[in-house]
Symmetry: C2
Subunit: 262 residues, 2 copies
DNA sequence: GATACCAGAAATGCATACATTTCAGGAATG
DNA sequence: CATTCCTGAAATGTATGCATTTCTGGTATC
């Protein structure tokens, strides 16, 4: 029963998977990347409904993997789920973003505190110290180049990731990943922009001083001090955002800027 | 085109949706609830693979909504995603859980601090104070009853939710929801168990003193004090877990206890 | 006896098709 | 002129079936 063999028109036998673009990844994974990129670049109005059929056609896949991608982006905070009514693009107010930065600061503070409490031997700090020294070399006494800023961004995110590693808390790393999935909440969200701002160099130097003090505090197992430095360090991002708001037209260089409603 | 009308055997015309159980919700939503319940009750070994076909048959639905449910539970932290290899039940070590409680304490600390900083008029504290008074009435000078504990749990979670409301931070509420989706990280995870433990009454009184001090600190806009009280308050959950580990056999009453590998 | 190899089985990934619900617009009514 | 009701179109929800990948167990080879 069930009419397996004699089914005359079983669909169309689509050559799924290796459609026409890069292969090796699943359709759902590619859809997630593509959609996130579209969202960050502001191709959807905040509050706009994400219609599945046109979207699937646009991305060249069916609704099933698209659905999974939408589900993931909703959990990342880009979309809101309305049962039986689909997904709609989330919008973010300025206080939202300040709170996201504050929250990241709080989590990084906890990471720094745990790192200070849990470090066992001085050698564990080597990676952190080396990254700090590299950033010093990239900034101090030099004019900023585009390449230099790119390298700084790389070292900076590895620096912050290393503190998470030293904290030895899987839950904390997960929580941090969920916060920083929003582009403007991540540690290097405003660094690209910073490059063109007049006070750039000063803010880089302040950041570096924060890093230096963080390494020192963690090495000395001064958990409370490490925590408050990390919190203050996150406020640099807020200053960058504020100056971006003032200098009109620069917002273009800030990732996800178009998602911010003023 | 597409052979719409003359399609002879288009499947089976299943009467989907209102299958046989409660209706009004989607299959995916019901699957999420059912699976989460199964996971928390320990029906899956940590590390066990979640095979979709048997699971779908067991839950009485097809693989598509089941997939969505699995995806959600993975984002909640119950499952791990292995591309092309399905979902496997996550396992949690004791340090994981301590860290989850610590993390929740950190977030509640931030919520209490923000509440203290952002409160504008004294009347806003009324709900919080009323909930506190109710809890006092339920505990002080009384023998614990099962019903009383249930009511305490209700007031307690509303108390913690109210602090989040007073913090006026959507991001923070989201972050807290993501942490407390793990059963043993939530504020009332160990309260059921507490009822039978010998030191129950003392821990309830300590919690109530924390609540009292929290209301006082928030009302006086003492942000730093509110923060540290909230952090210390979360440690009560840790004490409960520790005493649950000692008293053998009581773990059954702790939600998600079977997910903890020792 | 251990490793490599190789079917067959089973599991995931996804496209299609259909059922059900929601939405938009216009006609009818107050 | 505003409101309600209705109807067709469109959108989401989900079951089925097939393609591809992964697993498993047995056999051959060293």
């Amino acid at each position: 029963m069930r009419s397996k063999p004699q089914n005359p028109i079983p669909g169309k036998v689509a050559k799924q998977g290796t459609s026409a673009s890069e292969q090796g990844t699943s359709q759902a994974a590619r859809a997630t990347l593509a959609l996130r990129e579209l969202l960050v670049q502001g191709h959807f109005q905040p509050g706009e409904r994400m219609r599945e059929v046109p979207l699937a056609k646009r991305l060249g896949l069916s609704r099933i993997p698209l659905r999974l991608a939408l589900e993931r982006l909703a959990h990342e905070g880009f979309l809101e789920i309305r049962p039986t009514r689909g997904f709609i693009a989330q919008q973010f107010s300025l206080p939202d973003i300040y709170d996201a930065i504050d929250l990241r600061g709080s989590l990084e503070g906890m990471a720094a505190r745990l790192a200070a409490e849990r470090i066992s031997e001085a050698g564990e700090l080597e990676t952190l110290r080396a990254l700090h020294e590299e950033m010093v070399g990239l900034i101090r006494g030099k004019a900023l180049t585009l390449n230099g800023v790119a390298e700084y961004i790389d070292r900076n995110s590895r620096f912050h990731s290393e503190i998470l590693t030293l904290s030895r808390s899987r839950r904390l790393r997960r929580a941090m990943e969920q916060i920083t999935s929003l582009p403007f909440a991540s540690a290097s969200a405003f660094l690209q922009r910073q490059y063109v701002a007049p006070e750039s160099h000063e803010l880089f130097l302040i950041s570096i001083e924060h890093h230096r003090a963080l390494v020192e505090a963690i090495g000395a197992r001064e958990g409370a001090r490490a925590e408050s430095i990390a919190r203050e360090h996150a406020r640099v991002a807020r200053r960058n955002l504020e100056s971006a708001m003032e200098n009109q037209g620069i917002g273009e260089s800030v990732p996800g800027f178009k998602l911010i409603q003023l």
